[in-house]
């Protein structure tokens, strides 16, 4: 299955991925209206130190730990292998955050969890972070193990 992969050697630390993610998942058509004066909660985030930059988002693990800890069944893996969140079920216990080894789970204003779902639920079609990256540091492709 296709996933979002990050190539640290091309990441410029510009943070455009974060803003494109927040915009794509905002449900608002105009980027200014969607993001102006708002604290963004993107599902991909840039980590950086010195000259190192890279972005972290859900790896859609083959055998996800987060699902094993989910007390509400909100986290599931679909037929394609995408790990998705059912926001009707999530109770905000954050067990998934306790388990995720990559730190890619964050919370929204309702304290339920957010993570990358490969832009499958918004109108973007293909991952917005990939489309917004100016240097091909983030790609959407299938990688063989």
């Amino acid at each position: 299955m296709k996933r979002v992969y990050v190539h640290e050697e091309w990441c410029l630390g510009c943070h455009l991925c974060e803003y494109n993610c927040a915009f794509a998942n905002s449900g608002i058509a105009d980027m200014v209206k969607a993001l102006k004066n708002k604290k963004i909660t993107p599902r991909i985030h840039v980590e950086e130190g010195g000259k190192i930059h890279y972005a972290v988002s859900c790896r859609h693990c083959e055998d996800p730990l987060c699902i094993k800890g989910c007390i509400s069944g909100a986290l599931t893996k679909d037929d394609e292998g995408v790990v998705t969140i059912d926001h009707n079920k999530c109770v905000g216990c954050l067990s998934c955050m306790l388990l995720c080894p990559y730190g890619c789970i964050t919370t929204d204003e309702n304290e339920t969890v957010l993570k990358c779902e490969l832009c499958m639920k918004n109108s973007c079609g293909a991952p917005a972070c990939v489309q917004g990256c100016p240097n091909r540091a983030i790609v959407y492709e299938e990688v063989q193990e």
Binding site: E9, G13, H15, M31, V32, L35, K51, G132, P134
Partner: protein, 501 residues
Amino acid sequence: MAINFILPEFEVERNDYRCIRCRVCERQCANHVHSYDPDGDVMLSDETKCVDCQRCVCLCPTHALKIKKNDAALRTNANWKQNTILEIYKQANTGGVLLSSMGNPEPFPVYWDKILINASQVTNPSIDPLREPMETRVFLGKKPHDIERDENGNIKTELPPQIELELPIMFSAMSYGSISYNAHKSLATAAEALGICYNTGEGGLHEDFYQYGKNTIVQVASGRFGVYKDYLEAGAAVEIKMGQGAKPGIGGHLPGAKVGEDISKTRMIPEGSDAISPAPHHDIYSIEDLRQLVFSLKEATEYKKPVIVKVAAVHNIAAIASGIARSGADIIAIDGFRGGTGAAPTRIRDNVGIPIELALAAVDKRLRDEGIRQNVSLVVGGSVRSASDIVKAIALGADACYIATSALLALGCHLCRTCQSGKCNWGIATQDPELVKRLNPETGKERLVNLLTAWKHEIKEMMGLMGINSIEALRGNRLMLRGVGLNEKELEILGISHAGE
């Protein structure tokens, strides 16, 4: 000093409603123009540092930025233009020679834009390039006078070595040092994909790029940087750089601060030492010396590779070319006065040399008149900007064109002309690893291949509409060109008639 006479050239205009304070502009400006002030939650801009490279404009996700020419101007004066005045201020400030990058921006005539191309209509059918084969392939090198065949029809004459190009375009010399590793990688991989050549420039050949050798022209310049046996054998051809269009008659200078580990290794000079290319080759003081070097290089490469001699277009270029054609060189490359550079003294870049269009026409005519046109192929460069420029150049007599500025534009250059600062925001004219990162060679290669593929189609279309189906039928075919707005003398030198005739 306490009073600064230098006006900022540009203004940063930010549409504050659209600005979402994402700070991408701040992170991406190598000149530190933008900054974020958390106290007022505002973005601030220091326009004195802006060079109009357009990086922030291109990356701003809400298109909130515009870079404008600063209209705070000195009093209008047709003779004492603002730039001229500011240049005097700069020299009074520092006592230094003014340095500039890229090609001559002054409004000298552009002859390409005064030449028009013919089309076939009633008397000659045009050719549809989508339905008929179009040959864009060219071979650069010495061509024999006569061909002798044996009784079976096979060619007996020994053919001199040639460079085979899928289309009549090559990437011109840009040294590793003036441009980045990633830029070289983009050029090398694109040249390989397109079936053409790129040129190492005077900075030597990086060891990682030996694998692209058959698409590489290795340059031997006056500083002889990186020149040794393997270097000469790696390329498809060897080019002796006698001069370049942007700075004819002078050498070059890469400051020691830019000679880091990798550059030092590739140029074979100590780290931190200035890389100075002297004005003449100190072993070429006459045309006979040039012939000697040409043959030394042929000996060193077992006569298997064509030798190119690159000169700047200057006065008496026809006589110079005639001499080179008799020296044993296989290809002459002529670089017009609009050619680009990483850094050159401003006065020299803007006032020395002649237009390539005139030089080309003069050289082609002279060589034909002397019956030695087939001794050499002619490659021209110096602001070749489009497929139509290429078609016109070939019709004026060129075998192929060298492009450099066009290639850099494809890689993302925005012609801000501040390469000499070493802070190229697009990762092209810099050695700073944080900036070089910005040019992903995968993207670079793709864009170069796209550009030249598009130009190839355009060339085919223009050939087809002339009723021509191969480059060799276009070469020197001046009847396909007409001038417009040119005086008698210009028409005479170009060897074309005026439109209407």
